[in-house]
Amino acid sequence: MKRLPAVLGLIVLAGLLIAPFALKPHGIYLLSMWAVMSIAAIGLNLTLGYAGQISLAQAAFVGIGAYCTAILTTKFGWSFPATFVLGAVLCFVVGWLLGYPALRVQHHYLAFVTLAFTTLVYLVLRNEEKITGGTYGISGIKRPVLLGWATQGARDYYFLCLLVLAVVAFATWWLVRSPWGRAFMALRENPLRASSLGVDTRRYTLMAFAIGSALGGVAGSLYAPLVEFIDPSPFALGLSLNLLLMVIVGGSGYFWGPFLGAIVSVLLPEWLRVADGLYLIIYSVAVMVLMVFCPSGLLGLAERIFKRPKAANAAKVAT
């Protein structure tokens, strides 16, 4: 029983490595999008799920990352890795600054502050035509050649996305298991008590925002060459809500939550396309049912199912 997660993980990993050889380009594209959205959702899960700071600004950071890569590679001839790093650093800094309101306001007020930020970034992307191309967007974003590895093909670019996802996942796994992860959770559960135990709540709150936002930037940086053409519309509030949905549906505060949430948000709608015009209705009903019966998300549901027999056995022994 204890080996089950490891075996399951290996099967999924093997599936992810084999899948692009069996799928058509559109399928590979969707898997790449899943990887990219997973990265953005992992970032939001860190800010929201672990540190408890609600944010509706993740789409803005994906946008900043995407435009950073798009503008610098197409107009200034920068290499992809340089824009990738710059996008992440830029989002880290902006995320840090956006964290300051979180020191003063919480919960739905913080949601409003971050929502306003998303709108602000969207308007800048749309209106600053000279830099961002406005509603015409930026086209011809090339997929990079890295150390002689050309990622132009759908399959190669998918592997790049998967590689970055793996690195991000490992770093996040390390972070949430470190004392930092514990401090983040303390921030979520009881900031007053945390500060009386020496936890510098100010610095950890800002850090939670900054790291989560930087991952949004990483996702954006991968997103731009994936779709090869960007305009401001994907980075509006809709994406922020979608990312929030991924985190909550997957299981907020669970490490694997964003991966599952991204499946629900990116792949499920595609699978439901067979239902034709009904697919959006089926999709939204499914999400609503899940939220009503299991607010802790898919992983919360799984935990309830797998932990219940144990509790029942313990009760039997006790009686």
């Binding site: 470190s178 004392p179 401090a183 303390a186 559960e189 009881n190 008590r193 945390a194 009386s196 135990l197």
Partner: protein, 247 residues
Amino acid sequence: MSAVLEVRGLSKAFGGINAVEDVSFEVNEGEILGIIGPNGSGKSTLFNCILGQLLPSAGSVHVDGRAVTGMRPCDLNRLGVSRTFQLLQVFPQMSVRENLILAGQEHQGAMWSRLFGRRDAGLSEAAQRMIDFFRLAHVAEEKAGGLSYGQQKLLDAAMAFMAGPRLVLLDEPAGGVNLTMLADLRERLRAINAEQKATFVVIEHNMEFVMALCTRILVLAEGRIIAAGSPDEVRRDPKVIEAYLGH
């Protein structure tokens, strides 16, 4: 003996109401000082001013001779000033062990070192000692939110002692704890006072508990100190009797 905590002329006003007025006292090393007083006498406000949760309107607070007035709670804690809360304040989704490790981890090195250092911040043994000391071994891996009220009170106290503090402020440690647990808690507190050479300040409503635990008692009424002395002296003081029984 040197004063671990020194409060001088501390006042706190909310609008026109003086919740605490010109309070001065010292607490010496190893002492267990009790602060009692009727409801609304300013005990909690006094605590919050000492602990940096409220900024005093006037006066100063010194810990080991160092001015700490208005210092942030987290910085104060890292100087060795710890506290427990009147209402339950644990981290419900974290296990008892995790609660304790968290209570100690911020005292080790710089923030960055904790990101790359050991997962338990080298505190597993210390946490285990606390678990054994407060007799929480049978629930050590349980989520703190699932513990009984009394057990959570013990955990709350254990967390306050995790980093080996110099000064601990206990806000109604006996509140809502049943009689068996109460004796247990008192005896644990006395033992840790002797063992860690920690200094305590205790706010408490339970007279029996406070008289048995404390070496010296201050009585607060309407924001002022009206009496001070050993438990026996305070018990006999007519001003104290009047403050409690009314006019």
